[in-house]
């Protein structure tokens, strides 16, 4: 019940500062457009006035794409059939769990890193706004909070990277080596397949755990004006370990909502026929609504966690 209550309170907070969600969505869109424009130009140049343009408008011209892929460099090289529908989501998930950031073109990686840092900045504004007695969104106030917490949030981000690195690279590498050993002696591919899934699941769960702990560390920093990031991180961990049902319950409930939303999005998007402008526009609107919803869910998670931390303190 605590979980539901905190979620409900969190939802009210998100609604009260609804424009904040839109603002964060716009930041996401703006960052994406930085690379989408050159990708658009590259595709436009490649299609030119060829008949491949007609075929790509009607469906997907595999031959054109192979040519494009073979000649592309930079962000445009990431364009391919697997970014459609379910592929888009699975691509991101696999890259995250497999820590395949290094395989991304440098331009994409750069934007990603800058966005991550900006996100640490925005998280300060978000939590600062939500922590107020009457949550709302005013850009000046939001930026003030963001600037106020940024040094500490940046520190927390860098500190969290130590754990992400430990899980994503060190543990992952060890588990992969173990997987390799298991595979090596296996007479059937089922063994390494299921072992591989288990490794991915372990890494993913640990990553989510790290995210959750540092979420509470940021919340502690805001609620209790912590200046020591290590203490905040410790308190975040202590809170999670002391109240596992409440913290995990809230986090995973919203995770399940996200997963359901993602599946619904994929199913809907895959039914849209993008062979005319209307279909493309509809698909675009749908994907923007989906991204907006994802941003909203992230805000809801923060708001719910904030209320949980506050209620547990009380």
């Amino acid at each position: 019940m605590k979980t539901i209550s905190n979620l409900s309170q969190g939802y009210k907070t998100v609604r009260a500062a609804g424009r904040l969600v839109v603002f964060l969505y716009l930041v996401n869109l703006a960052f994406s457009l930085v690379l989408a424009v050159p990708v658009y130009e590259a595709i436009k140049d490649s299609l030119g006035r060829s008949q491949a343009g007609e075929r790509m408008a009607r469906g997907f011209d595999y031959q054109w794409w192979e040519e494009f892929r073979d000649k592309s460099h930079g962000p445009a090289a990431t364009y391919g059939p697997s970014i459609f529908g379910r592929g888009a989501l699975l691509n991101s998930l696999e890259s995250l769990v497999g820590m395949r950031l290094g395989t991304l073109p440098s331009g994409v990686l750069l934007i990603l890193i800058v966005y991550i840092i900006i996100h640490a900045f925005l998280a300060g504004g978000l939590l600062g706004s939500y922590a107020q007695e009457s949550p709302g969104f005013r850009l000046r106030g939001f930026l003030g909070e963001a600037i106020r917490y940024f040094p500490r949030f940046l520190g927390l981000m860098l500190f969290s990277w130590v754990f992400f690195y430990a899980v994503g690279f060190v543990l992952n590498a060890r588990l992969s080596a173990l997987l390799e050993r298991i595979s090596h002696g296996a007479l059937t591919e089922r063994t390494p397949f299921f072992a591989g899934l288990a490794v991915s699941l372990i890494v993913w769960v640990l990553m989510m755990f790290i995210q959750m702990v540092f979420d509470y560390a940021r919340i502690k920093t805001v609620l209790e004006s912590r200046t020591n990031i290590f203490r905040a991180a410790w308190e975040g961990l202590a809170l999670v370990l002391r109240h596992p049902l409440a913290t995990f319950g809230l986090y995973y409930l919203l995770f399940i909502v996200t997963a359901i939303l993602s599946v619904a999005y994929v199913l809907l998007k895959e039914t849209i026929v993008q062979s005319a402008a209307a279909g493309v526009l509809l698909a675009f609107v749908l994907q923007q609504v989906f991204i907006l919803a994802l941003v909203g869910l992230r805000c809801w998670t923060y708001a719910g966690q904030l209320h949980l931390a506050r209620n547990l303190k009380d």
């Binding site: 060829s50 790509m56 529908g85 996100h119």
Partner: protein, 660 residues
């Protein structure tokens, strides 16, 4: 197993006539009677073979050369491993003493016969390394005959040997209780063109041999399910827990076998043409039981369509082996016997395991029946088979669907079909230019170039040739080439002769560019221009002329279409020009110079120009530039970029986990 014995009983009744009919297919130049025992505890084969070899050349032969392939796995200095570095060396780095394999000739002697006296050849045994002078390679040896064998004479040799089965590095070996035994016995080379053609075991090639009859007795623990080249004639169980399987096949140039107690064995007689049947044996890994029907369907499609396209499959059996995971023995071809490969999650439409099944069966034609020299003309083996594979797959199943694995789980993108024209073209575009197609298999710049030239470029060349000549010429031509060279050793010029004969003209200009050149094919529409025509104004024949367009008359346009040749390959091309009033004109260009301009004057403007509108030039590495419209499609880049944007927005949101 009971079912098998019943089948064997039935087979024995047929043996005499079948064996005889097989032997009539071709002269039996190199025939083997073998009796081998597999010691599964030591992973050793103890073998004895009687080789009957006929000198079909015009020369007197004073020595005989043999392959001893398993010595490629004897140490990390063999040509096979050195050529395959770093991969082969990486794998072999962790080899323990018992993992290495070898093949050791214990005795080799001439058996008494009409033209020979008993003679011990072992003292003259000398290792040879004709390809790379690698003194540490022991995959070829020769023996000196006491007196030259004259043309037409036959010699019988008895060879006893011990073969240590290697842990699989590639193609052959033992993994746990799964054995795939290829290139496993001392095998005589091919005598021709004035000498022995007996190459070392290479990273990229291994096949060339004469046809003959194989009669092989294999003794091993009775719990093992066995599959092999040819038909099983006998299965005798012994009191010591072993069993002897006897296999027989005539008119083949190799013999391979497999054994594992885990195999599920399925047999099905298949009628592939009126009055023509073959018996399909499928040896399946238990975890792939669900793929049984797909495997069988693929073999049947391959047998049926290959028979139609390349001549009726002449053997009584075909055995498809689903190899064990980690055995590194998938995708291997031997006469009447091949290994495919599958993953238990392979979805329908992804091309697996159907593609590899068709490919490896297809080698039964281009390597098995058409005995081209895979060492020296690899494209005549792999290229023809790749062509066979994609044509048969496409006909049997339609286009493959784009499939990607996430966390090992395949996801099929049902809307994204991979057209047959895409088969191999990316490799040609990116890599084929590193070498000519016609090179010895181990002489390519690297493995990618070998693959791009031997598999992809040859396949693309054949598909281009097919569309260039037309189905009506190509289909009988390729079938004629296949059947004319069954049980023979054709060279590139033999294929060219068949092409010329069917085309009714010399096609050397076409074939040579692909086979002996490293250029690419790329034709493009460079420009399409439409300008208002200028009325005549000025002095003409001593008179001043100033034409005026009559009021209300439709304006005239001068239109140009510039077609360009961007690649080095020169072929005649057609150009289709479409005007805004719906008129379509076809032009032809010999494609020799760098460009050609077509000009038109009339009331309509050119809205579209397409070079090679019928898509004959499958080898064109840049199809996108083959067409030019008056106006671009504006929706396509927006659509593509919008979808990319959606993916990237999601990725940003996902990776923000690292920021907070």
């Amino acid at each position: 197993m009971r079912k098998t014995l019943v089948t064997v009983g039935f087979i024995v009744l047929l043996t005499g006539s079948l064996a005889a009919s097989d032997e009539n297919l071709c002269p039996q130049v190199a025939s083997y009677d073998m009796d081998v025992r597999l010691d599964t505890a030591r992973k050793v084969i103890i073998g004895r073979e009687t080789l009957t070899w006929s000198n079909t050349s015009r020369d007197s032969v004073g020595e005989m050369w043999f392959h001893l392939y398993w010595n490629a796995f004897a140490n990390n200095a063999s040509t096979f491993i050195v050529e395959g570095r770093p991969t082969r060396q990486e794998v072999s780095r962790e080899f323990r003493k018992e993992d290495w394999g070898y093949s050791r000739v214990e005795a080799i002697r001439i058996l008494p016969g009409p033209s020979s006296e008993p003679y011990d050849l072992k003292p003259s045994l000398t290792f040879r390394h004709p390809d790379d002078n690698n003194a540490l390679d022991r995959t070829v040896f020769s023996v000196t005959l006491p007196k030259p064998l004259r043309p037409g004479q036959t010699i019988r040799l008895e060879i006893t040997w011990e073969g240590k089965v290697p842990r699989p590095l590639a193609r052959t070996g033992v993994f746990k209780d799964y054995y795939l035994l290829g290139q496993w016995f001392p095998k005589v080379g091919v005598y021709g063109e004035g000498g022995w053609n007996c190459h070392q075991f290479h990273d990229t090639s291994e096949f060339f041999a004469d046809y003959g009859t194989y009669d092989v007795k294999i003794t091993l623990p009775s719990a093992f399910v066995v599959g092999a080249t040819g038909r099983r004639l006998e299965l005798v169980r012994h009191a010591d827990g072993t069993a002897t399987h006897r296999y027989h096949q005539a008119s083949v140039h190799d013999f391979a076998w497999t054994a594992s107690p885990r195999f599920l064995e399925y047999q099905q007689r298949f009628k592939f043409a009126p009055g023509k049947t073959t018996e399909i044996t499928l040896l399946l890994q238990p975890e792939h039981k669900g793929l049984k029907d797909r495997y069988l369907k693929a073999v049947m499609a391959a047998v049926k369509l290959a028979s139609r396209n390349y001549g009726d499959y002449p053997y009584e059996t075909v055995t498809c082996v689903d190899p064990a995971y980690n055995s590194r023995s998938g995708g291997m071809e031997y006469p009447t016997f091949f290994t495919a490969g599958a993953d238990f999650l392979d979805p329908v439409g992804s091309g697996d395991p159907e593609g590899v099944t068709i490919h490896e069966f297809g080698h039964g034609y281009f390597y098995g029946l058409v005995g081209s020299n895979e060492f020296e003309n690899p494209w005549m083996d792999e290229g023809f088979t790749s062509f066979l594979e994609s044509e048969i797959y496409d006909e049997a199943y339609g286009p493959m669907l784009y499939t990607r694995r996430y966390f090992g789980i395949p996801v099929v993108f049902k809307d994204i079909k991979i057209p047959i024209e895409s088969s191999g073209i990316s490799e040609v575009r990116q890599t084929a230019g590193l070498d000519m197609m016609q090179r010895y298999a181990w002489q390519f710049q690297d493995a990618e170039s070998y693959s791009a030239n031997s598999y992809a470029k040859a396949e693309v060349m054949l598909r281009t040739l097919k569309r260039f000549l037309g189905e009506a010429v190509f289909a009988p031509m390729i079938k004629d080439y296949s059947q004319s060279f069954w049980f023979k050793h054709p060279r590139p010029q033999d294929f060219a002769s068949v092409v010329n004969r069917h085309a009714g003209r010399d096609m050397g200009w076409f074939l040579d560019q692909f086979v002996y050149g490293a250029e690419t094919c790329d034709y493009a529409v460079g420009e399409v221009g439409n300008e208002p025509a200028w009325p005549l104004k000025g002095w003409l024949d001593g008179k001043y002329v100033e034409e005026k367009t009559p009021a209300g008359a439709a304006p005239l346009y001068e239109s140009d279409v510039l077609v360009r040749r961007l690649g080095g390959i020169k072929v005649p091309v057609e150009i289709q020009v479409t005007f805004d009033d719906g008129r379509v004109r076809r032009e032809t260009w010999d494609g020799q110079l760098q460009w050609k301009r077509f000009s038109y004057k009339g009331a309509s403007q050119v809205v579209l120009a397409v070079v090679d509108p019928d898509f004959k030039l499958v080898a064109d590495i840049n199809r996108t530039n083959n067409s030019l419209m008056r106006r671009p499609n504006r929706l396509a880049p927006w659509k593509a970029a919008a979808n990319w944007l959606g993916w990237f927005q999601h990725a940003l949101e996902f990776f923000s986990i690292f920021g907070g």
